[in-house]
Amino acid sequence: MDTNKTFIKLENVSYMYDPEEHPDVKAIDGVSLTVNEGEFLAIVGPNGSGKSTLSKLFNGLLTPTEGDVWVYDINTKDDDHITDIRRNVAMVFQNPDNQMVATIVEDDVAFGAENLGIEPAEIRKRIDESLEAVSMSAYAQRKLHQLSGGQKQRIAIAGVLAMKPRCIIFDESTAMLDPAGREDIIEIMHQLNREGVTIVFITHYMEEITDVDRIVILEKGKVIAEGVPIDIFNQVNMLHRARLDTPEIVWLCSLLRKGGLDIPAETLTGEQLVEALCRLK
């Protein structure tokens, strides 16, 4: 996959919720950022860092107070093309209950496709494919409120898949789930990414993003660090200052290094650590 082609570009973007009264309170403060075609990008930041605001700028749910956001060559301020942007840059939100419009699973999955004016026969086909992709085919006729949080979130993913987007933004979509549900959703994200869908994942759980392509750290509306997981995780002090954590194993490695053991910097998983230790012997 060609991961060098720019898909979404933010140029010096600032966002204020109340530019008249409080022009100095910037939720997003001069951020320049690109999302490349086919990549798996994670955006991490503490509560109140502006990451949720940032995610809504990607598909024109919010438009920047200053600067521009481009999806390919369309500006998100261009109202005539906003549907083109949103069908390509889809979004899964945090609270599964607050993004469902219908009572029955398949009706909800159909919603986005219906809005795009797709023929009923084609919608039917897309529902089947989307539910299959998230392993929920057996639930097509079930009532949404009887499903678990993780299952609801899978239905939300199926709902955006039915629009056939090129990019999906997961805005803290795992935050309200239990560990099993969380694992399912992350597995689906990787699966979709392998099939060519660009993924932007917003979270504050470091354990979830050990195998992404790139991590961006956001603090107080600004990008304070950017890089591949290993580089980011090993900046222990920076992460702690930003109220974030290192993954458990990376933390363990840093304790071992302090204790004088020679553990290679690229150790991210338990298996890798065991390998490294066995080589030491």
Partner: protein, 283 residues
Amino acid sequence: MSIEVKGLTHIYSEGTVFEHIAIEDVNFTVGPHDFIGIIGHTGSGKSTMIQHINRLLKPTRGTVVVNGIDINGKDVTMRDIVKRVGIVFQYPEYQLFEETVYKDVSYGPKNLGYDDEKTEFLVKQSIETVGLDYEKVRDMSPFDLSGGQKRRVAIAGVVAMKPQILILDEPASGLDPAGRREIFRMIKTMNTDLGICILLVSHSMDDVAEYCDKVMVFSEGHMVRFGTPGEVFADSEYLESISLEVPQSKQVLEMLKKRGIDIDTSPYTSGMVAEEILRRFKK
């Protein structure tokens, strides 16, 4: 002893087609100053169990005795119970309703019939216990606070009733890593300094391993394990069989052991594990 649960069984809609056994024959005793972690999957029965400790649910069978009082006894009022047992539900900020932080936190003490002086004392004390500045927040609207501060005010609303037993269901969910740590440390302080008995429901093995003295494991309506973290995590094969994850650092020790390295697999926090590895690998 402070909580004594015997033969506790709860069946929803007993005798109908919707009959569902949520918990069955749960027995345990918890001491007055214990810090207990409760783990288990969604639907394992842990949230049904905790609601019995303050009579939000009544047992189908079995007894719950708190500080020597059978809380389902005839003469026991709900007020007698909530005075002793506080519950902080998941996302407790959703229960805030008053115009000011002070009024909201005082809701509990007022319901208990305390006078203004005592109420004010309790409100001040509890707001400080949760790590907020009393003078600064007392007249603020709880809805103007940040997410983390709202959570603390909601917890203060329960702490203000001076419970001897405090039950918290996933108190840190949705908070960033630093916020999580702050909340858990605050709870730990309530346990060590104020002597409150804590029952903490959590999905995170790492957090339970770090803060709790004892761990209760629920699976399919049964309490399947109850012991110190060391004892419970020692049987990692069993935990995996009910798809609960062992703390990650501990998994490293077990992988090393499988590789034939002579190492003690009982440590379970990252600090303890690092020590053990260093002991074994440093010449």
